[in-house]
Structures are given as C-alpha cells and as structure tokens.
Symmetry: C2
Subunit: 477 residues, 2 copies
C-alpha cells in the first residue's frame, strides 16, 4: 500500500478550505442544497474555512458569499457542487482555473438517468476536471463524513470519531447506515458516498482506509465496479490487516435494473461475487441489519474462534426455534462438555430446566451468582466458541425497581469474564413501556462498549460472519 495514495486523498478527508457552490440561503430541511452542507460543517465544528459561492446571495448562515470560485481569496481543497446539472461545466472550468484539489459533485441528473446527452455531460465534466488536475467524487452523491476533521453532510451525524471506515456508492444508504449505527454504538473514522464513480472509485477510497491509522474496520455498500480487478486486489491486501464487510446491491435481476437507474453501474452476477468474496476474505452481507450487526460485533467483541455456540435465554419452543435459526445461519449448537453439564447440574434444578444446549435455565438468568458460575463453565468449555444470549428486558416491568440494573450489571460482568464473545440479543418489546426499557438497556450496554443485537437472526449471522473471517485469516497465516 503506497503512502502516496494516502497522501493524495488527505485533502479530501481533511480539507483546510471548502467552497460550497450553489449555497442559496433559502434551502429548507427537505431540499438538499448548499446551505445544508454548510449547516453540517458548522454543527460539526469544521476547523477550516468555508466559502459559500452564489451569484446573487450576500451572506448565508453568517458567512460571506462569493460570486464565483475565482473570487475566493484562499486556496480551495474541496469544492462541493450543489448547482443545476446545466451549470456544472462552467463551475468546473472555474475550479480548474482556481486549482481546486477535489470536487464533490452532489448534483444528480447524469448517466444514471439513462439519457445519452446526460451521460455525455458527465464524461465532459470528468474530462475537463482530470485535464485540469481536479479529482472528482461523484456525481450524484453525498461526499465526505470525517468527524475528525469536522466534515459531515448531515448536521446530526455523531461528532465523536471511531474505528469504522465506510465507502458507499449510495448516499441514502450511507446516511441510513450512519443513523442506525449511531443508535447501536458504532462510530466512524471516515465515510464516503461516491455515487456514479465517474473519476474516483471505490478501490481508491479503500486503499486510503487500508493505510489510515484511525480505521480498524472497513465496510462498503457497492452497486457496481468499474474496475473489478483493482477492487479485489486491494480487498485481498486489506482483509489481511482489517476486516472488510461488503454489502453488494443489485444481486437480483430486478435489483440490477434498479442499480442502472440509480448509479449507472453494471451489477454483475451474485454467484461470481460470492466466490470472489470467499477467495479474498471479504465478509459479504445482504441487508442493512446484517451490515450493522457484523460491524458492531467487529468493533466491540472478542472474535469467535469457531462456529460453535451455546444458546441461553430461550424457553421451550423458543429454545427450539433459536437453535434452528442458529444452524440456519451456519453455526453449530453442540453438546456441552461433561464438565459443563456436571457443573451446571449443581445449581440448575433437573426438572423443568434443561442443562443441554440450548440452555433452558430461566432461574440462572435472574441470579447473578449462578449466572457467573454458568459463564465460568462456558468460558472453560472447549466445545464452545461464543455465547448467544437472548435477553428479554420487558419483563423487568413487573419487577422491583432495581431489578433491571442488577440484570444489566450481571450481563456486563459476565461478558467480561467469559473471554469469548457474548452476543447479546435485546428482544423486541411488544409494549411501548417495554420498548423504552429496551432502549435504556441498549444505551447502558452501548456506553459500556458492549454490542447488542435487535434480533436473534442478526446476532447469529454476525457470529457466523466473524467466525468465517477468522477461518479465512488462519488459512492465510
């Protein structure tokens, strides 16, 4: 991985100066526009200078507005285009003259429309830019979120940084992912939405993140690749250093059609894709939930060294169906070791509660001392790689006031003592009161740096994905 390529994208993620072109002061919350970008920069405490550009406005959000890029008194690292498609060539000509380093074209209406003249306009734009030394992000995208630099396209994105880098072809999904992540305790180093990828492509951003010291985990949403070879080359390098989770959109016939009208990409075959992921160690996911769950598990939990799980917290039919779901996800639910069974029998009543796996042992889940004994037995059980614990906080509603605190603390202590990953499922609540408790519990776990999962299926998929990645790593070492 060359340091050069990193140095070369540095001003995109850490611009000292940003021109926001088309920064009309009348943008409202539901019409994206230059003003929205400026609000994002203000709210995120961007530490560089902001130069709004608009032919008519005087000021916007207290910033002096420049008539043209040429009038800006400083150098410009990044220019955000929020102008009609018909104006982009003129604005790009100004940027070339100004020696702008990066242009993020938020404007849409290019090759993704399927119209020939629009595709030609995109080509002309990129030709003009590259001949003039301007690198282009987009068009038809949201650009950069780098909390470390105070850059974000939505003012409510978290201001704290974290270990996750994310590269997304879709701005909508990047935004959705960041919002979901916020509630689940995931924080970001850098996120980029790159749209039609007319110039800068996925593999170039990945190369940057591979070398970026603040990024420990890389995720991506991709619709199509213009240079598949370069992508898999960097993926193969990347996965040996950092886990790389990819959600590929447009797998199906209809999805592939939707891709072409979204970012004008060719989606490619699902079959081929899965084979390439296996070969290169990419963790392939297929929903936003699986993406979030896999990444939060990579961020917060010790890694499972195999696919063997113990299941706790089901009861009766629930134990059966959780086991089905775990094995459907690719996991094993093996017999516990004799030592574990013997140890459990000492405090689990034989009738009505089962010491088999899944462990159908309600009494242990409300007794911190027994819970810790169970944890220690599972910690020492060589047949078990991870614990899947389905926790229903809703029933704390009928209990004494301090009850939930006891349960949450017990769970946190147990997770720490286990030394193996504890995948905690916070079961869906039927009542609003239960839902409020569930969100409180999630907050408590988040703030202790412990992942939780909204469904058993999501947790089981995450265990499987992580254990497969560990298997890939050991096959390569």
């Amino acid at each position: 991985m060359s340091v050069d390529s990193n140095a070369s994208l540095q001003p995109l993620f850490y611009p000292k100066t940003i021109a926001v072109i088309g920064a009309s002061p009348d943008g409202d919350a539901f019409r994206w526009g230059g003003k929205t970008f400026i609000e994002g920069l203000v709210k995120q405490n961007f530490r560089g200078k902001v130069f709004p550009v608009h032919p008519k406005a005087e000021t916007v959000l207290g910033f002096k507005v420049y008539k043209s890029v040429s009038d800006i008194p400083d150098e410009v690292d990044l220019a955000i285009f929020s102008v009609p498609a018909s104006a982009v060539l003129q604005v790009m000509a100004d940027c070339v003259k100004k020696r702008v380093k990066f242009a993020h074209i938020f404007t849409a209406g290019f090759s993704e429309t399927g119209l020939e003249d629009r595709a030609q306009l995109e080509k002309d734009l990129v030709t003009l830019a590259s001949e003039g030394g301007v690198r282009v992000v987009g068009p038809n995208c949201m650009g950069v979120y780098c909390p470390d630099a105070g850059v974000a396209w939505v003012k409510d994105f978290p201001a704290e940084t974290g270990p996750v880098g994310f590269v997304s072809q879709s701005g909508q999904l990047a935004g959705h992912f960041i919002e979901e992540s916020k509630a689940r305790g995931i924080r970001f180093s850098k996120v980029i939405s790159y749209g039609n990828a007319s110039d800068l492509q996925c593999h170039e951003f990945l190369r940057y993140l591979a070398a970026d010291e603040q990024t420990a985990i890389v995720g991506s949403y991709i619709e199509g690749l213009k240079d598949g070879r370069a992508f898999f080359d960097i993926a193969r390098e990347l996965t040996l250093k950092k886990p790389f989770v990819v959600w590929k959109g447009g797998h199906t016939e209809g999805g592939s059609r939707a891709v072409s009208s979204h970012t004008a990409s060719i989606a490619g075959s699902h079959h081929l894709w899965r084979a390439l992921c296996k070969q290169t160690g990419i963790i392939s996911v297929s929903s936003i939930e699986e993406l979030v769950s896999t990444i939060v598990a990579l961020q917060d939990l010790p890694q499972p060294q195999g696919p063997n799980v113990a299941i706790v917290g089901g009861a009766g039919g629930g134990s059966v169906t959780m086991t089905d779901a775990a094995e459907r996800a690719g996991l094993k639910v093996p017999h516990l070791s004799e030592a574990t069974i013997k140890g459990l029998s000492e405090f689990v009543p034989v009738h009505g509660q089962s010491v088999k796996n899944p462990l159908d042992i309600f009494s242990v889940l409300i007794n911190p001392e027994h819970f810790m004994s169970m944890i220690e037995l599972l910690r020492d059980d060589p047949r078990i790689d991870a614990l899947l614990y389905y926790q229903r906080v809703e029933w704390a509603l009928n209990r004494a006031k301090g009850f939930l605190d006891v349960i949450l603390q017990m769970t946190l202590d147990g997770a720490r003592a286990l030394k193996k990953p504890l995948f905690l499922v916070l079961a869906d609540a039927t009542t609003l009161e239960g839902e409020i408790l569930r969100r409180q519990a999630r907050e408590r776990y988040n703030s202790a740096g412990m992942a939780s999962f909204p469904t058993f299926d999501a947790a089981a998929r995450a265990v499987y994905n992580l254990s497969e990645y560990q298997r890939y790593l050991s096959s390569r070492s």
Copy 2:
C-alpha cells in the same frame, strides 16, 4: 370432516365448568400456577363456573376452594392440572371417578425430561385417563385460549374474537405469537397449546378448526408429529377451505435435539417436510415474524394473484436493496406497463425521480392527489399483482402537525382504491420519538383493519407466501 369430531371437542373450547386443581392462593406473577389460570378466567369474563381445588386453601380470589375434584357439586367439563408430577395419577383417578370430560395437564416433568421413569409416568397417566373416558391435553402445555368462551391462560390476552385459529405444541411460542399478534391487529377464534401430545394430537385440533365457523385462517407451530399421515390428511382437506400456515420447529440437527428435550417429539427431516407442504398446500414459515406477517396479510388484505410487485418508497440505494430483497423472497419486480409509465410521467419529474419499478418518487408520496393517480395506474396495470410500500413515518417529526394524518389517510384511501393488496412496511425508527409515531401509525392502520409490516423482508415473504397459496388453489380447482 365429521361433525362428530367437532362436537366431541366442543366442551374443551366452550367448557361450562372448569376445575383448577392446585389452585394455591400464593401464586405470584412469575410462577405459573392454578391461581394464574383462575385470574385469566376472571379477567376474560368466563361465563361458566370455576371450581378451585386444593387440599388446604379455603378461598382463592373469592372462589370457594374444594378439597378434591370429587367434592365439586357440578359436572366438570375441563380440569386444569397444576399439581406436582408426583400427584397426577391420584388426581386423574379422581377425575375419572368424577367423569371429567377433558384434562389439561399444565404440569411438566414427563417424557420431555428424557428420564425413563418420567416417560412411564406419562404413559400411565394417559392409560388411566383413556380407560376412564377422560381426553388429555398435554402434559407440559398451556391449554386453551378461546375468547368467545372467556377462557385464556394469560389474563392480558385480547378479549375480542377474530378469524384466526392457532394450534401450538409450545405454550411459550403460542403466548409469544398471541402477544405479537395483539400489537399487529390479529385476533383469534381458538388457540390451543398441546405440549407432549400424549393423547389429543395436532390433527384432532385441526379437524375441529377446519369445521369451526368462527375460524377462517389456521396457523400452527409444530415440533414433531406422532401421526404424520393423519396430519397431512387433514391438512389436504383444510387447505382447500382455509389457508393453513405452519411453523415447524426443530428443522436442524441441533434444533431437533432441542425438540426432544422440549416436547419429546421426533422432528423429522426438513427436506421431506417442505415437499409435503408443497403437496398439501400448507404455507410453511420459519420464524415468528414470518408467521405473524403471513397471518395478518391473510386476515386483512385482498389476496395477490401472482408474484409481481411494484415497489414504492425506497430511494436511491434503498430502491436497489428492496428489489434485491423482494426477488430473494421469490417475487418478481417487473417493468411497469407502458400505460403506467406514460401516466406517471405526467406528474413525476423526469430527473432525479424514476418512473421505473422500483418507483423512486418521493414527491408523489407526500401529495395525496398524485398518490391516488399512481394507485389508479397500478390498479389498472396487468403486470402488477401487489404493491410493496415502504413508509417512513419518522420524517413526519420535522413536518407540520397535521402532516402525518394526511399521509395516513392518503395511504388508507389508496389501499382501498388499489383493489390489489397493498403491503405497507412501517420502517423502523431510529429515535424514540420516531418509534412513538410509528406505533401511533400502526394503531391507526390496525383500527382501520389494514395490515402493516415491521420490515421489508417480512412483507415480501408474506406476499410470496400468499401468492404461492393462490397458485396451489388454482392448481387444485
């Protein structure tokens, strides 16, 4: 379907008298016991007589307590056993003497423990009962919920009746299903949890529901079948009259092991199961969410005549991934007819919004007039069998106060005008405020008798399941 068999189970679902044996007055909310059952009957306004039985207690919840079943002055239709396993033979002997019609054995600790003496005790119990003319439900189960008769094992089950009959081997899953259903607008005719099925079996309950005029839709959770032939015989008859949705637990190796320690059943092969479902028109589901979503769609929506869906409410990458999810679920996302495209183009701006399928047309979703025009175009489009509409109510938080009402009313009007099923997905909210809005919207839809779905995947699976059932019916007509 013989009327006899129905008449024979009538006193189980509509008992005139219930003896609750082991009705100790000190049952608390977390220990199931006779008192809990009596509370259920009181809260549900059971219209028959309740006779608590306990050797020591005098009264419980205001009811006079009898020392023994023999002391009860009336005939007894149903006796609920909530006594230790060691006492069941004696109590059954009393029931035989009393000529009790049905015994529901809530007590656990029989063949499901895997212990030989416990399995023998179960056999002895059933032999004693059947020789004495008492039919047995269970052991190890929750028994009957029949709101029409005021019978329920949990006091908070809905008191209103509805068209759904449900037969469950697991009491825990039956309870979970009823709770989930409550929030989703599903109401029940009869539910039975039958546990180890030592005497009365699944197919006998199904036979009753097939003939029951209050039941229009039948669901089931099954772990194993003691008489598979009888089950598929009744299933084949049933599916021609009423849709029959089955969740089979214990599909996987580990799940099958869990089954044996739960209800002592042999789970059987998944492969064979799917083949038998296809042959008999059973709608096979594999999660609680799929079960609830399929049943609520059967209850509330017109039935899709094919697998071709139009998708609305995604944006950008969301449209792509929804299309992927729909096709993964077995649906088609076809091109719209030329008439539809032409009609849409009249009010959908060409750039930035797509008139292709999926329809990426935000502006139409906040304009009731345009929305209705879109509905009418889809109604008349022969290529489309159903509409999948992903609705994000959370963004109403940033809008004027009446905005959400307008959107909900527009959706209800549209669903009515469409004449085809509209599968409405109420998207997950990230904030608690959004979640409250989402629950309000769901309530509003529920009370208008319109199904909604918590995830796009769940809705897509439901469309597929219903369209496959329609296909089965036309192949048989």
